[in-house]
C-alpha cells in the first residue's frame, strides 16, 4: 500500500490535489464555525448553487478561465444574500433558498440549451459532485488556493476576537462600537471565495458538508470557542487528507469520500460527546 501511494505521489497532480484539498478543508472549517453558530449554515449551500449556475454559463461561453467568471458572481451573491438577510421583509433563509434553487435551475437549463459538449450529463454530474477536476488543477489554481487559504488563516488570527464577538452577540458588538457589518461582509466574501475553490474538490452539492461537519463535530466535544475553532480545523484537515488518500487507493469519487469521512468523524464525536457529558 505504501509503495502504491509512493508511486501516486510521484505525480505532481496528485501532490497538488492533496495540497489544495487540505487547504480548502482548513479554510472552510474555520469559516464553518462562525457560519454554523450564526445559523447561516445554508449560506454555503445557496452560494455553491450560485457558483454552479455561473460555472454553467462560463462553460457554455467557453471562457478561458472559469474562476474569473464564477468568483465575482458568487462573491456578489454573497453580498446580496447578506443584505437581504438584514431586510425584515424578505427573511434570510427564504432569500437563500430562492437564490439557490433559481441558480441551479438556470444553470442546468442554460447548459441544456447551449452546451456543445458531447457528454452533458457527465459535465453536470462532475460540477455537482466534484470529479477528476481536482486532478487537473492548473498551477494558477494551486497558487490561488494557497493565497486564499493564507488569507483566511490570517483573517482568523488577526480578527479572532472580533469574529468571536460578532458571532456570539452582534448587538452587543455593535453597541460597543464595533463595525459588525464589515466583519459580516468580510466573512461572506471569504466564504464565497472558498466555495468557488472547493467546487473543484467536492462539487457544488457537497460543499456545505465541508463547511458545517467539522464545526459540528468540534462542538460536540469542545466547550470553548478557541477549542472549537482549533478542533474544527484539525478534524477537517485530517478528514480531507484521509478521504483523498482513500479515494486514490480505492479509486472512489474524491468529494463523496471526504464527506463520508467527515460524517464518520461527526458520528464518533457525537458518541464521545455523549459519553463525556454523562461521565
Amino acid at each position: 500500500m505504501y509503495e502504491m501511494l509512493k508511486i501516486y505521489f510521484s505525480y505532481p497532480f496528485v501532490r497538488y490535489a492533496m495540497l489544495v484539498g487540505v487547504l480548502i478543508a482548513l479554510s472552510s472549517s474555520l469559516l464553518g464555525v462562525s457560519l454554523v453558530l450564526k445559523r447561516y449554515s445554508f449560506i454555503g449551500d445557496g452560494l455553491s448553487h450560485v457558483a454552479f449556475g455561473a460555472m454553467a454559463v462560463a462553460t457554455v461561453l467557453d471562457v478561458g478561465n472559469d474562476t474569473a467568471v464564477v468568483l465575482p458572481v458568487t462573491v456578489l451573491s454573497a453580498v446580496l444574500v447578506l443584505r437581504t438577510g438584514q431586510n425584515a421583509r424578505l427573511k434570510g433563509d427564504a432569500a437563500i433558498a430562492m437564490i439557490s434553487v433559481g441558480a441551479l435551475a438556470f444553470g442546468y437549463l442554460f447548459l441544456n440549451l447551449f452546451s456543445r459538449s458531447a457528454n452533458l450529463t457527465g459535465d453536470v454530474c462532475s460540477t455537482l459532485f466534484g470529479s477528476t477536476a481536482i486532478l487537473t488543477l492548473s498551477r494558477t489554481d494551486v497558487w490561488l488556493c494557497i493565497v486564499l487559504s493564507g488569507a483566511v488563516v490570517l483573517l482568523f488570527t488577526v480578527f479572532y476576537h472580533q469574529i468571536f464577538a460578532v458571532t456570539f452577540d452582534e448587538t452587543f458588538a455593535r453597541a460597543s462600537g464595533m463595525k459588525a457589518d464589515r466583519y459580516n461582509l468580510l466573512i461572506a466574501v471569504v466564504t464565497a471565495s472558498v466555495i468557488v475553490l472547493a467546487m473543484k474538490l467536492v462539487g457544488s452539492l457537497l460543499i456545505s458538508a465541508l463547511l458545517i461537519f467539522p464545526a459540528l463535530s468540534a462542538m460536540r466535544i469542545f466547550r470553548s470557542f478557541r477549542g472549537v475553532i482549533l478542533a474544527s480545523a484539525v478534524l477537517s484537515v485530517i478528514c480531507a487528507a484521509a478521504g483523498i488518500l482513500l479515494s486514490i487507493l480505492f479509486s472512489t469519487p474524491v468529494g463523496a469520500t471526504v464527506v463520508c469521512m467527515d460524517m464518520a468523524v461527526f458520528a464518533l464525536c457525537s458518541l464521545a460527546g455523549g459519553l463525556l457529558s454523562r461521565g
Binding site: 450564526k38 456570539f168 452577540d169 455593535r174 453597541a175 460597543s176 462600537g177 466547550r223 470553548s224 472549537v228
Partner: protein
C-alpha cells in the same frame, strides 16, 4: 452635567414614528426604569440610546464622560447564545473589545479588567466553564460582567430578569442595585416588572406612543398614570 439628555426625540421605523416627544434626562448615579406595554417603543429607545439608530426628530445627547467610554449593554438573550460553545472568560473579555480598538490580542490591562469584573460579580470560579452549561442566573452574571468591561459609568439592561427563576431574579436586582449605590454606576433598565421598578428605581419613564410620565419614583406612584398602571399590574411581581 447630565449623562443623557433626550430632547423632543421621535423614534420609529421607515418613516413611521413608534414613539415621539420624548423628553428626559439621566444624571450620574440615577437608576432609571423604562416601563410600558409591549410595542410601546422600549426596544427602539434602547437602540437609540446605544446609537444604533438615529432619532427621526429631536436629539439624544451623551455627556459627562459617556461619549468616550460608552454604555455597558446587557441585551436580551438570543437563541444563538443558548448553546454557544464559549468559556465564561472568553465572553467577559469580549466586553473589552470596543475600547481597545485594533489589536489582535488582549493585553494585560484587558485581562485584569475582566478578572476584576468576574470577581465583583462572584463568577471567578466559573471562568473556565462553558457558557451554555450555566444556569440562567449565572449566564446573566456573565453578560453583566461583560457589560461592566465595556463601561465605567453606565449600564443599560434590557429585560435583565426575563426567563430567570424567582431566586435568580432577586439576586439580579440586588446586584444591580448594589452596583448603582456603591460604584455610582448609572443604571437604565427596561422592564415589565412594575414591582421592581417602583422598588429599586430612582426615576421612571413610562412610554406609550407618547411618553406618559417621566420623573422620580415617588412622583410616579402618586401620578394618575402610575396609579392606573400599578392597579392593573397590581404592582405585583411579574416573573
Amino acid at each position: 452635567m447630565a449623562q443623557i439628555i433626550c430632547r423632543d426625540a421621535a423614534l420609529g421605523y421607515e418613516g413611521r414614528a413608534v414613539v415621539q416627544h420624548l423628553n428626559f434626562q439621566v444624571d450620574r448615579g440615577d437608576y432609571l426604569c423604562i416601563v410600558g406595554e409591549n410595542g410601546s417603543g422600549k426596544s427602539t429607545l434602547v437602540k437609540a440610546l446605544l446609537k444604533l439608530k438615529e432619532p427621526m426628530a429631536g436629539e439624544i445627547c451623551l455627556g459627562d464622560g459617556l461619549e468616550a467610554d460608552g454604555i455597558g449593554y446587557l441585551p436580551q438573550q438570543t437563541i444563538v447564545q443558548k448553546d454557544f460553545p464559549a468559556s465564561v472568560q472568553e465572553i467577559v473579555l469580549s466586553g473589552c473589545l470596543g475600547r481597545f480598538g485594533f489589536r489582535p490580542f488582549y493585553g494585560r490591562k484587558e485581562k485584569e479588567t475582566a478578572a476584576r469584573q468576574m470577581e465583583r460579580l462572584g463568577i471567578t470560579h466559573l471562568a473556565g466553564r462553558c457558557y451554555r452549561e450555566l444556569s440562567g442566573g449565572q449566564q446573566q452574571r456573565v453578560l453583566l460582567a461583560r457589560a461592566l468591561c465595556a463601561t465605567r459609568y453606565m449600564l443599560l439592561l434590557d429585560e435583565p430578569v426575563a426567563g430567570l427563576d424567582p431566586v435568580a431574579v432577586q439576586e439580579m436586582y440586588s446586584l444591580v442595585a448594589e452596583l448603582n449605590r456603591q460604584e455610582k454606576i448609572t443604571v437604565i433598565m427596561v422592564s415589565h416588572d412594575m414591582h421592581a421598578a417602583v422598588t429599586y428605581a430612582s426615576h421612571i419613564l413610562h412610554i406609550s406612543e407618547e411618553p406618559l410620565f417621566f420623573g422620580t419614583r415617588e412622583a410616579y406612584v402618586q401620578s394618575e398614570v402610575g396609579k392606573a398602571y400599578l392597579s392593573v399590574t397590581g404592582g405585583e411581581r411579574h416573573v
